[in-house]
């Protein structure tokens, strides 16, 4: 599968997982022999509920330590330094019980920026997320779409190399979804590598450069988006696409 994307890459894959396994109560939740995300992205991890998409994302981000196997970033096993260059946006935004600006400042303070720099950065970020004028509002009074935009801004405030998103729009209406997708694509264009989980095929078509289809904890197919949608190789992909198209 790595060869498939090799024409787009240079040197080490940005992030790769080998031999990942997570089992619970005798069953296998995740079983990934090898997965290398080496294209420019965005990578969309697609699959039905319970396929292990979120679990894989958490392993790649180091939130969960797998029973065995290793995640490498730039060829080196994931460590604190590498993790500090990653960020993640969750399905349900977890906002601190503080103002909108303070949620961003929480991250910026950890980067040891001066007060003035932080203020300027917050203003820029809020502007980019369409949240200007809401800086002093309690973050938890934002609407669902605004809250998720703030969560994305907070993730981007870390200036991550890789941004993981776990179904960021699954609870949002189409217009809120559109704004989020636009934000993510802008971040991608600026050089942040996007790895996004979704079960929404339309979103995968709109966002994905390459698609990872997961089924029962395994990678069923990893292909460039155009190949995946036009000529899916695996039985699982054909069935998933067909089933979803019927819906």
């Amino acid at each position: 599968m790595r060869d498939l994307l090799a024409d787009e890459t240079f040197g080490q894959p940005l992030i790769e997982a080998s031999g990942l396994r997570i089992g619970r109560n005798g069953g296998t939740l995740l079983d990934i022999a090898h997965l290398a995300l080496d294209g420019p992205g965005p990578t969309v991890i697609l699959g039905p509920n319970g396929a292990g998409k979120s679990l894989l994302l958490r392993c790649l981000h180091g939130l969960i330590t797998p029973d065995c196997g290793v995640v490498r970033q730039g060829g080196i096993p994931l460590n604190a330094a590498a993790r500090s260059r990653q960020a993640m946006v969750f399905q349900k935004p977890v906002l601190l019980r503080r103002s909108v600006a303070a949620n961003l400042d929480f991250v910026l303070k950890r980067q040891k920026l001066s007060r003035r720099d932080r203020k300027a950065r917050i203003a820029t970020l809020l502007d980019e997320g369409g949240l200007e004028g809401k800086a002093r509002q309690p973050a938890r009074s934002l609407s669902g779409g605004e809250a998720q935009r703030l969560a994305i801004l907070r993730a981007l405030a870390r200036a991550p190399d890789i941004l993981f998103l776990d179904e960021p729009t699954s609870a949002l209406d189409p217009s809120a979804t559109q704004r989020i997708e636009a934000m993510v694509l802008i971040a991608a264009r600026r050089g942040t590598r996007i790895v996004m989980v979704t079960h929404d095929i339309g979103q995968a078509r709109r966002m994905g450069h390459d698609i990872v289809l997961m089924q029962t904890g395994q990678v069923a197919e990893h292909a460039l988006a155009r190949d995946f949608f036009d000529a899916p190789q695996s039985q699982a992909a054909r069935r998933f696409l067909a089933g979803a198209l019927v819906l």
Partner: protein, 226 residues
């Protein structure tokens, strides 16, 4: 009512002593209970669940029994008898600390643990270690923690059984609102008892009102994404 309005000095001395004893007790109990509660919330060690259950159970300590135990500790022949603390305000503070610490610790544990369940992954994602996440959890739980403190204060100021046993209800020394109300009622001096009762209610109600006010101001929109 006349007693309150006339600024009867004896009455106000009693009120002040009550406030002083209970406030100090809450400060000491918070200094012990909040770190304990926070540690229990984020720490993982064998027997943790047992400690949590025990702590919750201690919230219901009967004041009279606490009074008895503190009395035994402090009495002339008790292990701490040499300190000669029995029948002093300090003894009353100790008894109230024993009563209030489990309340503050248990409520702190609950608040921090609930918040931790929500924040843990996000904070970890942002590179915040377990230990470093405690100040964040405490700060974001500030309203609930303040409520815990005030619940402790409410318990302390309204409590009568323990303070009467270790304080002795000595006029001008250890006589507080609750013990005076009990004494004056039994003596038939209902005017003073009622006046103190009114003040006690006033304190309790304004404390609770203050908490609600704070919670409403801080928690705007809290419900929408709770």
């Amino acid at each position: 009512m006349l007693l309150i309005l006339s600024g009867d000095s004896e009455l106000w001395a009693i009120v002040l002593l009550s406030l002083k004893v209970s406030l100090l007790a809450v400060v000491v109990a918070a200094a012990i209970g909040m770190p304990l509660g926070a540690a229990l919330a984020v720490g993982r060690f064998p027997g943790r669940r047992l400690v949590v259950v025990l702590l919750n159970a201690l919230m219901g300590l009967p004041p009279v029994v606490v009074g008895l135990l503190v009395y035994l500790m402090l009495s002339r022949s008790g292990p701490l008898g040499v300190l000669q603390l029995l029948y002093t305000p300090t003894a009353m503070i100790i008894a109230q600390v024993v009563l209030v610490t489990p309340i503050i610790a248990a409520l702190t544990r609950q608040t921090v643990e609930t918040l931790d369940a929500e924040y843990a992954e996000q904070l970890r994602s942002l590179g915040v270690s377990r230990l470093a996440s405690v100040p964040t959890l405490v700060w974001d739980g500030r309203v609930a923690l303040l409520t815990a403190l005030l619940a402790g204060f409410g318990r302390a100021i309204a409590e009568v059984g323990a303070v009467i046993m270790v304080g002795g209800n000595i006029n001008h020394v250890t006589r507080v609102m609750t013990t005076t109300i009990a004494l004056e009622t039994s003596k038939g001096n209902l005017a003073l008892a009622l006046a103190l009762g009114a003040i006690l209610i006033g304190i309790a109600v304004s404390v609770t009102g203050l908490v609600s006010l704070l919670a409403v101001r801080e928690g705007q929109g809290e419900m929408r994404h709770a």
